[in-house]
Symmetry: D2
Subunit: 425 residues, 4 copies
């Protein structure tokens, strides 16, 4: 199933898929004008000449463009999957065959293979790590103390990864700079909200083909991903219930017109449950017990532990696949619960992940975040750093320009007014 | 590619797909409680004993349940595709292999095969025709005058088919009763609006994976299908422009918050165009000329003539497939136009058609419409008949019950008030 | 409080308000271009020369334009209020003082005065009656048999009035033609939905100044008025619950994303209740009993009997006005219920009724409906007649034109296609 | 028009309005459970004993509750208006007559009176200033250097005021701590978004009674206030155009489905313009020139300089009042522009300001912000301080509790997971 060429090590499903992958990568490129401009500049300036780089990402058509841009900038880059179920095998094949980028990623790989790929990536002795969920960095810190000297820094894509990096920093083990890509406005405003929103519902519909209109949809968590998911579920006609642990987000959901309930009250009412919390076991045994017969549960948070599938499994008489990515757990209580995508990110398991148009900005942040680390090598404190505001604004400006949208600029008079405090009522 | 058994003629892609089809049909059944109840009653009452029936439908998991219900009611039924691109080959296989229903339908069949299947169906000498777009009835009237004596009546599923039947009636060639299933509230309110709405956007996203948020989406036609499509496009974050020819629908679209423009002004602004008019050539050569580079066009109306693809083709230097169901026309003017699903119903070409939950009501109307024809054989005038209001209301009542939703009933006092006209201010 | 001039009988609050009324009438005229064009034509053609006309309407700035148009057309018209609480006294004054139209209407008039005004109107011996809720026609039929010979016909504005006319026709007492203005698409699509929607919420906010966002709003009835009210309540951030007696409308509400409950379950959950059913006592004693402390109830249906205020009053220890149009019923169970506008149409009691832009189309239908009656005098059967489709379409076309909105027209090719039934797949 | 009692100096319109004010204040209290709890605690703990306090606020029913709570806490408080047009005279009267709080505020007072009231307030030699737009603090710093020693600190309510305080801090003149109430999540998420959203549209409808459905509404600025305004305008059926100067906010508006245009392109398309930028002259002469005849403009930002009314006035042949708070500028170019509320905050000029339910949280932040200043007297650096997160969360928790809404809490297991970084894929 995997292959090794003399000049290029890799593990992908089937190099024969490269043509399809090439076609799909090309298609995605149409909606990624910002990253294209960055790649063109990188190709001239070669900011990553001599830099070994590991990118741990969902291996999608959009990630392909990031990898190609980094390579154009001179990086000696290796790409691995950030999730066992999210790899698009045709894309992996094309990156190897058409772009000579070493990829180690196969859709459906088991956890052992996943972890082996992480170690292969670390064997590359990276100077820069692009991480998505912090698995590579966590492994580095735990097992490769001797490689820390190689590290210039890391960039992190997800809310989940940032939570882990903060915990590492608190524990004193984060000894190099980490760029918080997730924190950039041009990332989380768009990727987490509009990207997760559309692609999560897309994944659910592809997996089930159920009508959303009139369904009671329980969105677990009302962060940026939850907001986007709730908005799109409502946009498709669902009646949305939100559960939260944060009182401010809870009132926000109320004022946005959603019902807010604790999970124990939401569980018996929902037709469909979507977890987007970044936490673990937000739907547990006691909740599965009281669900309607045929309730559908899925996850769109980073890790596959938001649903307590172990608890669910222990209640099941039988588990059978009823459609691709759709498994029915027949419970001892006579009801059934339907689990999508084995509890992994449903938008990547059953659909194609975030649309290119949002990943364009997210990966522009990744590319510029890596450049920032390299340019400021030695000058950044260990710990978590934001993307500079100017970079964030520049990405937005390039994006608007590419969309053909013009906006206003401040007049001289207005700039002066903004800086003054003496004129009032 | 096709097969013939001694006891059962059929033409399907591959009987080996039956297992997958069976699984998917079973899944769809969960959301079709109304049709299930009707099937159970039919199995006892056998209303179609001795009746030869032809059903010309999109061969989907939902249609499977209709066919099974009719057969349970005693019908000697043959099923053919109502569209060359909409057949789900696994479903066709399962109906033949598991239910012994003769099916003549292969996804992607050419027009010649399509028409041959219509003739095979008519060779069955049907008493009842379930039609979807009026192709079988039109062929009957044109070529099989001698079979008219066999006919009890027809039922018609679509707006398009009803328009054709009305024209036939005007021309004096509709000499038997036709039940207007489309007209039932429990059909067009739900199927045309919520069904078309969700599944059209689903088809577009599966075909392209583009982000809808922030796109200018032009919805051509603001009938029930157009209303649903516009609503869901907005629900996914698009900025929707509507074009219309009817002034009342046009103001309705304005008041619903959409921009209304004539097509010549909409054409240069749209990122994505969706036709749902039932008419022909609603996007023509002069419109393709002024579209943005990379504009995407597709159709969700019944026939594949809403887009003038002949005109588009004549302007193209090159046509290439860039993703499944996605073709790029590179024009002589240097821009490109992307056509989805060859201009056929995008929800059936690139996705799975309407979700089961709406087809449950539509096909309940079909099943009960056929029963109504049989029960009233000889008593119905030639022409177009509505589904009786009580049938419509009963379907709604069964559906609510199945969804676990209770509603109010009138008190004695209120009934009396409704019937009186004497009490006022 | 009332006044009589030698040359003009009338009963209005204060002629001194005429200047304010004139200003406000002029303002409303900006959004009524269709009625303005009709008035200009009437002024030339004088279709109502020699016709005695009674208009029973909410006396608002928009009604003023209708009355002025009718008078311009030669009508000898008398205007009375269709509701004791809906009269705008400044408008009534201006119509008398500036336009010499006899008006009998005072905001807050008691039921006795209201009924006396109906009799004054009938004393005018009308040939045409414009009715709004059917009070004048009902009185005519009950008490003025001898005047029936004068009658050319009536036009009716409301769903409620049409229900009464249908009952009258069933009982054989409707012996002249009645034009169903409410049924025109350019009336009920816009007036009942967008007009009632906005103005009902406007009335509630003016009466209470409560935040809608996050409130549980129970909309009782999901006809056109209910649909508009539910849509606007959601548009302001409320979580909307719908109650219904019709199963089809109930599923429609479900698919639109609302919760549907029987009133007994909705009553304890609602923060605000709005009735729009056209029926009586849709919120009754048993419902008031279980409401939250401080629940707010109001009505936007035609008559003031949708709330059973007699039952509520019998449960109250004390009733006090807590803001204008806002009364608190302190119940014996220790909780309170707040009633707005005494249960009368809240949009007219506490706000200014429908915005001019929708009344423009409604009253265009009224004006043209009256002209239709006169032109077809003697040729229309007794019973209920629709506004001709062409008239409906013309109104829509004039409106679009006035809004500066262009739409498409069918090509020759498309017209031919629409009329043909032979071309199919 | 003003009055002075022996024991209490004040300037209000008419003490005779106190009864109405008392009634309305009481009504508002129903939706302010959080501030009520704070007031009850203050009454026991007297945190402001011996403290002289000046509150410069919109004198509304909600502000009344803040003033009463501060007085209950022992404050020697004086209240002045923060805007010449926003005072509710009945509330001012009740605060004086019923609560013995000195108020200096009259609706419609001229700028001279406004400034005189600021000086009267400063004559009170405040220790704490609650400011709304920074007028009192700016005057203090410019004219009362000798009083700086009295100052413990200030709290600021608005985005505008914070911008001014930042400029003051940059210029080195802010020598005491300022608590940024606006920055609290329980303030700006709710007040600026849902409060401004509903009340701005409310003000516009009361001033004009125009139908929003189908109108092109231009929202100038897409900060929190702009987001809320755009959302509610769309919720009422408008087609919303957004203008911005910030590229990130601009794309956010695009992705939210709005059209984004520079003002020069938006100006000729809008039917209604609403400014919410905090900047000056965002609609200027060149924009008024190209507007449609009859375009309506208004402001919901803090100061009345967002519209360049001087430029507009210079183009006008005539200015006349066409409804209360509604003035028509008849321009030399033959068209007219309608200005609402003289360009002052339309929600306070023509309606009643933010609903109590949001001000409950905003003013809870004000009350607790003042307490925080007093408790930390001498320990806070000069400059701008946030409301502590715990305070913010507590307010949200109290609010949810008062609304009867329960939320989830983290399990032990989840807390541990959140703090750990070792478990990954």
């Amino acid at each position: 199933m995997t292959a090794t060429s003399p000049r290029l090590k890799h593990e992908v499903k089937d190099l024969g898929l490269a043509a399809l992958g090439r076609q799909r990568i090309e298609w995605a490129g149409r909606e990624m004008p910002v990253l294209r401009q960055i790649r063109d500049r990188f190709a001239q300036e070669k900011p990553f000449a001599g830099i070994r780089l590991v990118a741990c990402c969902h291996v999608t058509t959009e990630t392909a463009h990031l990898a190609i841009a980094l390579k154009a900038g001179g990086a000696d880059a290796v790409l691995i999957a950030s999730n066992p179920l999210s790899t698009q095998d045709d894309v992996a094949a094309s990156l190897v065959a058409d772009h000579e980028i070493p990829v180690f990623a196969i859709k459906g790989e088991d956890n052992e293979t996943y972890n082996r790929h992480v170690q292969i990536a670390l064997d590359h002795r990276p100077n820069i790590i692009i991480d998505d969920g912090c698995d590579v960095v966590a492994s580095l810190v735990q097992k490769r103390q001797h490689q820390l000297a190689d590290i210039i820094g890391t960039t992190e894509e997800t809310t989940t990864g940032i939570v882990r990096l903060r915990a590492m920093f608190r524990d004193g083990v984060l000894t190099f700079p980490a760029v918080n890509v997730n924190d950039a406005d041009t990332k989380h405003f768009f990727d987490n909200r509009y990207g997760t929103g559309q692609s999560t519902l897309d994944g659910i519909i592809r997996a089930t083909n159920v009508l959303l209109a009139g369904k009671n949809v329980v969105v677990v968590g009302y962060g940026w991903c939850g907001k986007g998911t709730a908005l799109r579920a409502r946009g498709l006609g669902a009646n949305v219930i939100v559960t939260e642990i944060d009182p401010i987000r809870a009132i926000e959901a109320v004022m946005d017109g959603f019902r807010v309930l604790p999970m124990e009250q939401a569980a018996p009412q929902g037709d469909l449950f979507i977890t987007v919390t970044g936490n673990k076991h937000v739907i547990r045994g006691e909740h599965f017990d009281v669900m309607k017969d045929g309730a559908i549960v899925c996850n769109s948070g980073h890790f596959d532990i938001e649903l307590d599938l172990v608890a669910l499994g222990s209640k099941a008489k039988e588990v059978k696949t009823v459609r691709p990515f759709t498994q029915e757990y027949r419970l001892q209580n006579g009801k059934s619960v339907v689990v999508l995508g084995e509890g992994r990110l449903i938008n990547l398991a059953a659909a194609e992940g975030h649309p290119s148009a949002v990943m364009d900005m997210s990966f522009a942040n990744q590319a510029l975040g890596c450049e920032y680390l390299v340019k400021n090598k030695g000058n950044l404190e260990p710990g978590i750093h934001s993307i500079p505001t100017e970079v964030d604004q520049d990405i937005a400006r390039l994006k608007l320009q590419a969309m053909g949208i013009k906006i206003d600029t401040l007049t001289e008079d207005q700039i002066e007014y903004t800086n003054s405090w003496t004129s009032g009522t």
